[in-house]
């Protein structure tokens, strides 16, 4: 099974790149000859996904990326090139990640996927998730990975961006992920499976909570830019490895937390500290968790 990640990297005017992902010894994620900047975002996601592929002896993930610092130019470029990327990479899983949430572009890309890769499982996080939900396309997705603020956005049928989420969805006691995830599914704002990341990670299928992962408890993970990205990278890689979606989400939540504990995460840690811990975490735990043992 193969994975294609569609996203952007934070370099103004950075070129469109497409190809298999590698992580050389300096921990900089590369697509082809291009080394991506570190930090949060699609780079962290690809680092985690590559760790899973390497551990299980699977082919590297593919990425379709372009430079974009928020003006939407790189986002338009990757949507434009999606058909070509599908033709070359023949993906079974397509994941949309950091990108400008433009509904028209997401509609066009889903039309392309429906024509050229109708069997592919679709995953969305970050701006890809915002665009899919705002365009009314969330139900076509297999998995989304919202955080605290974002699950409220998915549940708010009128909101087109998390910045506009209605107050009443948060209630007086803070956020209730199970209630919001159910509402999101009922109003067409959610994928079939949601991995709601937070102090407790909730795995929700068709609006019903199927699993909660809350150990090890590493509160600092919320502060670290990119830990949601590593979580998504783990989940999509497990999905592309053939894990059922619920199991992929549960394993991702466990591995991400375990990596946080392994590095003794503080609010000043970096997402790539987690990526570097993943080979050890997967080696020590994945076989026991799932029966998926390294080749």
């Amino acid at each position: 099974m193969s994975l294609l990640v569609v996203g952007t990297y934070p370099v103004a005017g950075g070129p469109l790149v497409m190809g298999p992902v590698s992580v050389p010894s300096d921990s900089r994620v590369q697509v082809g000859d291009l080394a991506l900047p570190g930090g949060q975002g699609t780079s962290a996601m690809l680092g985690a996904a590559s760790a899973v592929a390497a551990h299980l002896g699977l082919t590297s993930p593919w990425a379709l990326l372009a430079g974009d610092i928020g003006q939407g130019d790189g986002t338009r470029a990757v949507h434009e090139a999606l058909g070509d990327a599908i033709e070359v990479s023949r993906p079974d899983v397509i994941a949309f990640h950091y990108m400008q949430p433009v509904m028209a572009l997401m509609r066009r890309s889903l039309d392309t996927i429906n024509r050229t890769a109708p069997h592919a499982s679709l995953v969305a996080d970050a701006g890809g998730m915002y665009a899919a939900k705002a365009a009314g396309l969330a139900a076509q997705f297999e998995l989304m990975t919202p955080d605290v603020g974002e699950v409220g956005f998915l549940a708010d049928s009128r909101a087109t961006h998390p910045a506009y989420v209605s107050h009443y969805l948060f209630g007086t006691q803070g956020f209730d992920p199970e209630k919001l995830a159910r509402r999101a599914y009922e109003t067409g704002g959610a994928a079939r499976v949601l991995l709601v990341k937070g102090a407790c990670d909730h795995i929700v299928e068709r609006g019903e909570t199927r699993a909660v992962v809350d150990t090890p408890n590493v509160p600092a993970l919320e502060a670290i830019g990119g830990t949601g990205d590593t979580l998504t990278g783990l989940a999509v890689a497990f999905l592309a490895a053939g894990f059922p979606t619920l199991e992929a989400a549960v394993c991702a939540a466990r591995a991400n937390r375990q990596a946080g504990a392994a590095i003794g995460a503080t609010p000043a840690s970096r997402a790539f500290d987690l990526v570097e811990a993943l080979p050890g975490v997967l080696g020590e735990n994945l076989c026991a968790w799932t029966g998926a043992c390294a080749r």
């Binding site: 928020g70 915002y130 955080d147 961006h161 998390p162 990119g226």
Partner: protein, 174 residues
């Protein structure tokens, strides 16, 4: 019950003069924004005027580009159909040596003793990884504001968290 999704989440720049709208279109197109010249809804018209529609998420950066180019804008309308306002829920988490401020979907974490920004997180627009690279490691009172560096609503929400973090540390954002 499912609501139909809108065609696009666009907002409108309103101008007093048609020339300003035309010049604004040129400035924003050259900057890479996908914009359209449209007639504003009747209730927003000041006369025989033109408005510029663009994806709402791109407003902060586009407004800054128009200002830098000296294009006079009368107003920005988030939602031409009905009024909307940004989420203003701000919460904090005390980690001991660090404090994290969350505004909507965006978070900033600062070391209390030094004021150093040690992390930014949350969000999903492409300027967020860029802002992370630009801000982490800087002293918050000397750092540029996210609203001045970013281009999207996520960047604007990060700015709200940034301002609140400055206030918590006993100062004002520059």
């Amino acid at each position: 019950m499912r609501d139909a999704a809108p065609d696009e989440a666009t907002g409108l720049f309103l101008f007093d003069r048609v020339q300003d709208a035309l010049r604004g279109e040129k400035v924003l197109e050259q900057a890479g924004h996908a914009v359209a010249l449209v007639a504003p809804p009747m209730r927003l018209r000041a006369g025989c005027d033109l408005a510029l529609a663009l994806p709402r998420v791109e407003y902060p950066g586009a407004a800054r580009q128009l200002q830098a180019a000296g294009v006079s804008v009368r107003d920005w309308i988030d939602d031409p159909e009905e009024p909307t306002k940004l989420c203003d829920i701000v919460t904090t988490v005390d980690f001991g040596d660090h404090v994290m401020v969350r505004a909507g979907n965006m978070k900033i974490t600062v070391e209390k003793a030094t004021g150093t920004i040690v992390n930014t997180s949350g969000g999903g627009c492409p300027d967020i990884p860029y802002l992370n690279l630009q801000l982490v490691g800087r002293e918050i009172f000397a750092a540029p504001r996210p609203k001045d560096l970013g281009f999207t609503l996520c960047g604007l929400m990060l700015d709200r968290a940034f301002v609140e973090a400055c206030a918590l540390l006993g100062g004002e954002a520059r």
